[in-house]
């Protein structure tokens, strides 16, 4: 007998999430083709807060989500929901996996590949718009959306760059990355020197005691 919680809600939530993911991937055929390369991989996400488990089975049809899996797992990741969000939105997933709060077991390369496919999902809105509105208005609306998204991405990147520059250079609210790295290097060097000095002092103290004794 099992004492596990009623799986109905969890299964329903996964079904809804899988449908949403499928719709998004249907609009991004290139990403779907890339997912086919990960067909034999199974990714296990163990979330500790809130507590739940999801198994991802990528394939040429999209990504199948399951709450239960029996069999080999390619990559298993354990952590809190905030850690998973950080990984999902990270520009540098490798650094996030190394420095973040996630525990990883298995092969990290397929997981990074999956993260990059999902993070760079390039959805083509034209097909459903043309199917709904007709050729000419659908195409024109898709062009407008594409321009708006491109402008939005450019504006966001530019804003981020300018904000970075303002914080570091204009307002001097935070030191630039290179300066911080130099500082840490100096601190590390100092720590090593102190250690060496402490060893030398200890040696001299022992020699002095021997001479006295």
């Amino acid at each position: 007998m099992t004492g596990a919680a009623d799986p109905t809600l969890h299964t329903a939530a996964l079904a809804a999430l899988e449908t949403a993911l499928k719709r998004a991937l249907d609009l991004a055929p290139e990403s779907k083709n890339e997912l086919a390369r990960l067909e034999d991989c199974v990714f296990a996400l163990h979330c500790t807060a809130p507590s739940f488990e999801i198994y991802l089975h990528p394939g040429e049809q999209g990504i199948r989500l399951a709450g239960v899996h029996t069999g080999p797992i390619t990559t298993s990741v354990r952590g809190e929901a905030s850690d998973f969000t950080e990984l999902a939105t990270s520009n540098d997933p490798t650094a996030t996996l190394i420095n973040g709060g996630l525990e990883l077991e298995g092969d990290s390369a397929p997981l990074i590949e999956l993260q990059q496919i999902l993070a760079t999902l390039n959805m083509d809105w034209e097909a459903p718009l043309v199917a709904t509105l007709g050729d000419v208005p659908g195409h024109q609306l898709a062009q407008m959306l594409r321009s708006a998204f491109a402008w939005g991405r450019q504006a966001s990147a530019s804003l981020s760059r300018q904000l970075d520059e303002f914080i570091h250079e204009e307002a001097r609210l935070s030191p630039p990355r290179l300066e911080v790295e130099d500082f840490y290097r100096d601190v590390h060097e100092l720590e090593l020197r102190v250690d060496r000095l402490q060893s030398r002092t200890e040696r001299l103290r022992q020699r002095l005691q021997m001479l006295r004794g």
């Binding site: 099992t2 009623d6 799986p7 109905t8 299964t11 329903a12 079904a15 049809q61 709450g67």
Partner: protein, 249 residues
């Protein structure tokens, strides 16, 4: 007539040899509107129950799967995707009307190459020993005349290490839910059957057959007695439905 020669058909006591025919009549009657009625009666939740069954089945590429009482082929269609072109999926049903509806639906979906259709009695499965990696029976076991005989037959055709999954209506644990469920089953279901399928008797039988079906622990014991090991069950939607799983050693 001795007690041993009778069995239940809903709340009626009938001759054992007559039950299959009576159940057959019910399913001949509901086959054409089976999917619509399932969605209406369960509010679509039967899809979630079946989805969890597929998750727990552990079916993967190249597996051989038997879906008994497969009806209109919901599970078989999903299994066909999971096992791939090198795998094998058999949709079996004792009722030719249900099998025909399922076969037409799946052929319309272009699955004729991956799914075999077999008219078979769960008590006497027409397959060699050790044939399947997984067997499922969803909302079918309570209609079988001799459940013990059917379980032993399923054990025989499973490969060692193979899984049996029984998805079936069961007993809700919460008394309030149980009362609401009773009201729904005996008042709303026959009414829906009369209004939508023009057949209240079949849906009355559905409600009665659920009440006569063994509860979670009894069915678990029956699976163990039949020879399955590592038997367990998962209650779903408060125990309205339970998914039992057993493994052939």
């Amino acid at each position: 007539m001795s007690e041993k020669d009778t069995t239940h058909f809903g709340y009626k006591e009938v001759d054992k040899d007559a039950k299959a025919g009576l159940v057959g009549e019910v399913f001949h009657s509901v086959a054409a509107r089976y999917d619509v009625m399932n969605d209406l009666m369960s509010g679509g939740i039967h899809r979630i129950w079946k989805r969890f069954t597929i998750e727990l089945s552990g079916v993967r590429k190249n597996n051989a799967v038997l879906d008994i009482a497969g009806g209109t082929g919901d599970l078989a269609a999903r299994f066909a995707e999971l096992v791939g072109p090198e795998g094998r999926v058999v949709l079996a049903d004792i009722n030719d009307s249900m099998l025909r509806v399922g076969r037409d639906k799946l052929l319309d979906q272009g699955r004729q190459r991956t799914i075999e259709f077999v008219q078979a009695d769960a008590q006497y499965l027409p397959f060699p020993d050790d044939s399947f990696d997984c067997i499922t029976i969803a909302f079918g076991l309570r209609n079988v005349t001799d459940i013990d005989l059917a379980l032993r037959s399923m054990l025989r055709v499973l490969k060692p290490g193979g899984r049996l999954l029984v998805l079936e209506f069961s007993k809700p644990g919460n008394p309030l839910l149980s009362k609401a469920y009773d009201t729904y089953s005996f008042r709303v279901l026959p009414l829906m059957g009369r209004l939508i399928a023009n057949d209240s008797d079949s849906y009355q039988y559905l409600a009665e057959s659920i009440r006569k079906h063994p509860d979670q622990d009894t069915l678990l014991g029956m699976m163990e007695d039949a020879g399955f090991c590592q038997c367990e069950f998962h209650n779903m939607t408060g125990g309205i439905v339970a998914l039992h799983r057993g493994i052939k050693a």
